[in-house]
């Protein structure tokens, strides 16, 4: 005879209702045999159809009105589930709350990952935008810098790009009826908007003629600025605005939302004005890497093709200009990588932490649901005996889990929304695209489908347990004795051990991060920020182009500041420590033969006199005097790091430095202490301070040390600057301590997130432990009663329960420590001067973990000792 296909029979044996399984299987075999004469395929199809019908009939348990019955059943089941959940508000509330917290936090993290890392940047053909970087193997260089001549040469030679452009960011003050206004602007070449796939919404882009030096000044405005400052007047195109003291004719308005290249310059700003980048092929040093080059891939060309082509071009440039380009490498990266690449690691860390917390809370919820199934085993046994099929019982267990997780998912959406709101209100420093992080339908769909999936995950084990709920003896034994089987207990224990282990690993991680943050707090920044007020201005174009006028402005502001009775000292600098602003260059020490591969390199700062005194920076030798403020400067201060690195620790005072390719020679008159200019956690680099004259940076900061509270100086500084020049906007005004705080914001944020997550995980896992042990105690009350009746005293019962907790905690501790050790290398990058295997942190964590476990284990343990044997045994 012909047997039906094995997989079909295998399925049928498991899916058919037990009451008819034998006969139906027989009928199916016979029917299949009969239909074999028509064809094997037809017979198989018939068999499958019969199987499906059997399932539907079983689910609906009716023939004619199957679907209606199914729906009615589902509603009935849901009502039963809701009622049974409401009967145990504590269980329901704790499950929903813990899960909602975890799901909400996970949803927020997903939104961040989606908004920052996954979603393409908001440009047409964003994946075709490529950034060019010239990188040096030994010098510290960030990606994204290029030179004008290389831009011109590469653009002329390449066939891989349909457009290339050069840009740089610049602060700008726009003067008008409403007073001076500070805006961010970008100098861009003519094809810039083509690279970003955008065209002005009104008007036109720049022409090639407009980027030549000496062309009529023109500007393109952002939609936001046009609405904000110009009242959305469409007659603006063709009129002029005064930017940096020069009248610019407005030729276009960009569309809403276009602010490129803000995301590259500084994620927290919005570029509002674009002006032509004056490209003069004759007058650009090949070594000045202060501009950014981007390109748009031609259709059909991918990044690899473009890399291959530009490598050839670059090799030609290197042999043509060995001095300028010989040691440099050209790197092409997608614009998106350059913009968000640096955020990948921290976000991945938070994501990984989040997944752990979610797993802990899922394990927790699964355990709670499982406990309920076991508690209700008696009820299931009776219902099963009365004719409820197991399918129905497991459906209820699964339904309960789903209802809990979906409710948690809905609350979780609200929590995610609140967390994202917090993130926007208190943005961690330096995170790009935060404004694009929203709780849109994609995130909501992800959260809700995640919670359904969670429901299936945590409901699967209990449902399976309910389905095989034994009728054998469960009724016969009284409900009190109907305990969990070994299998169930093993699963529950494994869940608790896993939870505790993950929580301990997170706890260790968060302590490491917290310890590194504390270390950071103790780092001496190299200056004393207390009592120092800062004001940063972006000098107007006309003052920059007229050095005498600019120096006069700086001098007059400083003189007025110093005359204030509340000011002890005042000074100015071109790039304030920790502000992110910097300028660096090579230099030479006459008479010192330096390694040709390692040309001396230093950060160059321009400062007025009194700068070290105002900032509280130690100084050996003499400060600049008014007589030093001449062009070109003749004297310089250097920091201790430079002395150690390039003078081998010998006294450099009186020695000379050759700067700017030998065009200037200065004499060292003093040595300053080391200042953490680039971040409290970034090593100090060699620094040269020059008198503040002829400095090309437009941004200048005033610093003033108050005799009292620094905050009181804010209004005075604002007034003084306005008195000297009412058209000069102030960009930043705030105490120096804010800059110090700001530089630690990222670490503070990491510490906070890590700490919160670890705290949540620890609480959840301890709740899980208590639940399992409490349940176990309840389950064994009769046993405890018997033991006590036979002479066991309370301490021995206490020891018994505690030992049990420890049996769960000990493997968890081993696993947790192991996991934390394994994650160490990865955590390294987030730690400052703390080893990821820090013995102190590990031992403190394990001890604290032990104390916590013992403390919470006491709750069920003490309950066990209060058992009255008589009550228990009487039943």
């Amino acid at each position: 005879m012909n047997r039906p296909p094995r997989p079909f029979e295998w399925l049928a044996e498991r899916l058919l209702p037990p009451a008819h399984r034998e006969h139906l299987l027989g009928d199916l075999a016979e029917g299949y045999e009969n239909r074999r004469s028509i064809g094997r395929l037809a017979a198989a199809r018939w068999y499958a159809g019969e199987l499906l019908a059997a399932l539907l009939v079983r689910a609906g348990r009716s023939s004619g009105s199957g679907r209606r019955r199914l729906l009615r059943d589902a509603i009935h089941g849901a009502r039963l589930t809701v009622r049974s959940l409401l009967r145990r508000p504590a269980f329901t509330l704790s499950s929903v709350t813990t899960l909602a917290l975890a799901i909400g936090a996970a949803g927020a993290v997903y939104a961040v990952v989606d908004g920052i890392l996954l979603r393409p940047l908001p440009y047409d053909g964003a994946d075709r935008i490529v950034s060019f970087s010239e990188l040096h193997p030994t010098r510290l260089q960030e990606p994204g810098w290029s030179t004008v001549p290389n831009y011109l040469d590469i653009s002329a030679a390449t066939r891989s790009f349909e457009a290339t452009a050069l840009f740089r960011g610049r602060s700008m003050s726009i003067t008008g009826d409403a007073g001076a206004q500070y805006v961010y602007s970008a100098l861009v070449t003519d094809r810039f908007f083509d690279v970003f796939g955008a065209r002005p919404w009104l008007g036109r882009p720049f022409t090639a003629a407009e980027i030549r030096p000496g062309a009529e000044p023109v500007a393109i405005l952002s939609y936001a600025y046009w609405r904000r400052a110009l009242g959305a007047d469409s007659g603006v195109v063709g009129t002029t605005i005064e930017a940096n003291g020069v009248r610019h004719r407005v030729v276009g308005i960009m569309g809403p939302g276009f602010h490129a290249p803000s995301e590259w310059i500084d994620p927290s700003i919005r570029v509002d004005v674009w002006v032509p980048f004056p490209v003069d092929p004759e007058d650009q040093p090949r070594v000045s890497r202060s501009f950014s080059m981007v390109g748009r891939l031609a259709p059909g060309v991918d990044l690899a093709d473009a890399r291959a082509e530009t490598t050839l071009i670059w090799t030609r440039l290197q042999s043509a200009y060995p001095d300028a380009d010989g040691e440099w490498q050209l790197r092409l990266q997608s614009w998106q990588d350059v913009v968000v690449g640096g955020t990948w690691r921290p976000i991945a860390l938070i994501g990984a932490v989040m997944v752990l917390v979610l797993l802990v809370s899922l394990a927790n919820a699964s355990n709670l649901v499982l406990n309920r199934v076991v508690t209700r085993r008696h009820e299931y046994a009776i219902r099963s005996a009365l004719g409820a099929d197991r399918w129905r019982l497991s459906r209820q267990a699964l339904g309960e889990a789903l209802l809990v997780t979906v409710a948690a998912g809905i609350v979780g959406c609200a929590i995610a929304a609140a967390l994202l709101h917090l993130l926007r209100v208190y943005p961690p420093a330096g995170v790009p695209r935060l404004s694009e992080v929203t709780l849109d339908w994609r995130v909501i769909a992800a959260i809700l489908s995640g919670s359904v999936l969670s429901g299936v995950m945590i409901g699967a084990v209990p449902a399976w347990q309910a389905a095989r709920s034994p009728t054998d003896g469960a009724i016969w034994r009284s409900a009190r004795y109907a305990g969990a089987g070994h299998g169930t207990r093993r699963i529950r224990n494994a869940l608790v051990v896993g939870q505790l282990a993950m929580a301990l690993a997170l706890f260790i991680g968060s302590l490491l991060v917290a310890r590194s943050f504390a270390r950071l707090h103790r780092v001496d920044p190299g200056f004393d920020p207390r009592g120092v007020m800062t004001a940063t201005v972006a000098l107007s174009w006309n003052r920059v182009s007229d050095p005498a006028a600019r120096d006069r402005f700086m001098e007059r502001v400083l003189a007025r500041l110093r005359s204030l009775p509340t000011v002890e000292a005042a000074a100015s600098i071109n790039s304030l420590p920790l502000s992110g602003s910097n300028m660096q260059n090579t230099f030479a020490i006459p008479g010192r033969t330096s390694d040709p591969d390692e040309e001396p390199y230093a950060d160059i700062r321009s400062v007025s006199s009194e700068y070290p005194a105002t900032m509280g920076i130690p100084l050996r030798g003499r400060d600049f005097t008014a007589a030093d403020l001449i062009r070109p400067p003749l004297v310089a201060l250097v920091n201790a790091a430079l002395v150690r690195r390039y003078f081998d620790g010998t006294d450099p005072i009186g020695r000379q430095l050759s700067l700017f390719g030998g065009s200037q020679t200065v004499t060292i008159v003093g040595v300053t202490g080391n200042v953490h200019h680039h971040g409290i956690d970034v090593p100090v680099r060699p620094e040269i301070y020059l008198p503040l004259t002829g400095d090309p940076l437009t941004s200048k900061s005033f610093v003033a040390r108050a005799s009292g509270e620094a905050a009181l100086l804010a209004a005075a500084m604002r007034r003084v600057i306005a008195e000297v020049d009412p058209d000069q906007p102030i960009r930043d005004l705030g105490p120096m301590t804010d800059w110090v705080r700001g530089s630690m914001a990222r670490r503070r944020f990491q510490t906070l997130v890590f700490g919160l997550m670890a705290g949540l995980a620890v609480v959840l896992s301890l709740v899980g432990l208590v639940a399992v042990v409490s349940y176990g105690v309840t389950e064994r009350l009769p046993e405890i009663g018997v033991r006590m009746a036979l002479g066991a005293n309370r301490p021995s019962v206490l020891r018994w329960v505690m030992r049990w907790c420890w049996m769960l905690a000990a493997p968890a501790a081993a696993l947790g420590v192991g996991a934390a050790l394994l994650a160490g290398d990865w955590l390294q990058t987030f730690l400052y001067e703390v080893s990821p295997r820090d013995a102190a942190v590990f031992s403190v964590s394990v001890v604290l973990f032990g104390v916590l476990v013992t403390a919470v284990a006491l709750l069920p343990a003490l309950r066990a000792t209060r058992v009255d044997p008589a009550t228990v045994l009487k039943g």
């Binding site: 005879m1 008819h20 139906l24 027989g26 016979e30 059997a54 539907l56 023939s63």
Partner: protein, 109 residues
């Protein structure tokens, strides 16, 4: 005594026709041959379940048979109560039909 519904009547009539040879496969085939309606085996069994619960049918299990993969047949037979119910249903229908001639275009008038 409640009236068997249409599917139940079909199954009961098939039982009467088949006599001692009534089991899942033959019942299904009988109904399909005479009415053109094909009922899934599971539907047949679900219907028989309901009928058995009302004592309209009774069942017994045969010896295992090789052509069924070594599985037994479950045979069904109509009970006197079932027969009465079937007659009742038929009579009720007959009373509804009495003196009527139904044409497809009747609803027009």
């Amino acid at each position: 005594m409640d009236h068997p519904n249409e599917t139940e009547q079909l199954v009961l009539l098939a039982l009467v026709r088949l006599g001692d040879d009534a089991y899942g496969v033959t019942i299904g085939r009988q109904i399909e041959e005479r009415t053109g309606r094909s009922l899934a085996l599971a539907t047949v069994y679900a219907t028989l379940d309901r009928l058995e619960a009302r004592s309209y049918v009774e069942s017994w299990v045969s010896e295992p048979r090789p052509e069924r993969g070594g599985r037994a047949r479950k045979h069904f037979r109509i009970t006197p109560l079932g027969a009465t119910a079937l007659r009742e249903a038929q009579a009720a229908m007959a009373r509804m039909w009495q003196g009527l001639e139904v044409h497809p275009d009747l609803r027009k008038s």
